[in-house]
Symmetry: C2
Subunit: 288 residues, 2 copies
Amino acid sequence: VASPRPERLSINTATLRKQWTLSDIISGCARRGIRMISPWRDQVAATGVKETARRLRDSGVGLSGYWSRGLFPGVDRQARRLALDDNRRAVDEALSLGAPCLALVVGGLARDPDGRTTSKDLAGAREMVRDGIGELLDYARPAGMTLAIEPMHPMYAAERSCVNTMAHANDLCDELAPGSNSGLGIAVDVYHVWWDPELRAQIERAGGHAGRLATYQLSDWLVPTTDLALDRGMMGDGVIELPLIRSWVEAAGYDGPHEVEIYSERNWWQRDPDEVLSFCIERHQSVC
Amino acid sequence: VASPRPERLSINTATLRKQWTLSDIISGCARRGIRMISPWRDQVAATGVKETARRLRDSGVGLSGYWSRGLFPGVDRQARRLALDDNRRAVDEALSLGAPCLALVVGGLARDPDGRTTSKDLAGAREMVRDGIGELLDYARPAGMTLAIEPMHPMYAAERSCVNTMAHANDLCDELAPGSNSGLGIAVDVYHVWWDPELRAQIERAGGHAGRLATYQLSDWLVPTTDLALDRGMMGDGVIELPLIRSWVEAAGYDGPHEVEIYSERNWWQRDPDEVLSFCIERHQSVC
């Protein structure tokens, strides 16, 4: 398999969040010739949307996506309304920053206002996610902002996202936004989906005419993995067949960014951030 | 929903493995009126198969299943042959102990002889699992021992089992043992499958005429979960809708044992084992 084109590389800002501010990340990427980042909303909020837009413009760095914790499920109508309002603001921010899509971590089981999981109703959470995305689409589509559903690993079903397979994400797209390029897509993160025996078929379903492959994210699954959330590996250090999955998304027509997103409390968050970027650049070429 | 019949309760021996020997577990369960256990193979080996059979007989405790790490994938033909030989011995032991089924943890990616994961070939591992189960069936079926495939949570795909959904387990049954009551079934553990949006449909598919629901296991998914392997919860302490899933397996015709299997380094393995059994008995009645 040929190496990916270097200019596809994008750095999700979670990868360097412990070492650098968003401004540092933008200038650090620009120095290394990395032309795209994919920021998390809280990191943008810390810098400010306008200031972030200015720094991106000044440094010639663009966005490959904008990441938000959508968290649609809520314990009552009021909680869901607040979540929807917040999601609409995320759409506005994504527009201000010129992001090609707003990627959604849709939320798990409903939580009370203190953040405690108080519900076991998984099917109900999934309905709230469907309804919430549908309502947000009514806002995002006329504004021209594509929403991207991220199917997350089943180990996050309770706390982060109750959409846990590509098939489920495809089903949601079929239901809420049928047809091609309908303003709703899927964020494919190899970390979340590598284990799925249906992965190839569901990537094919999302690609081609459907045009749902909104973005593609890279990291690796370590053996052993010591933490459910914060022990992702650098590409090549784990067991995910990265060239194989890339061949599937490319065969499905995807030719967009490759976002590196690594949460790593014990390793990469402890390292010099310039060294982390060097690894991202080198491994993107050598093992992805 | 009506409480389950108390006599369905079975204790998987992993639940008390840190506090008690297998002999202790057998006598402890007998004292509490629990008539079934489901032992892990290594715990039986520590006591000896004959001695275990004698103690079971003397105490009037039966088996609801026998659990083995089948680990079919191997780095070469020799490794797979050794694994198959070992699996055949597990069938013999299950027969000696009068177990109704041999449940298989089928293995993840192939490992070298030192136990290191040296392969990333997930599709290849799945083929080795299919072929290995097929070969073991040729041995187990004439002997009258049902094999049960356990689909395990996707977070175990690399290290423990590359069969991660009920759909995959059903597909394997269709391919290797079509027809009803064909000697190959599925072990449904709520901990592994609760998140699956296809769960109800795949339980229906496994039940009824297919007759594949070999055993049913209980524990709970804690929020938060602090360890991938050893932080399972007591039923009722987590977020799994236990009565709902039981209603599905019962609607599919299952009326067998309810095995409690809790790996819990930080809580239940630290407690007095008699207290753990009290919780198992009470929670089985009140929340399952």
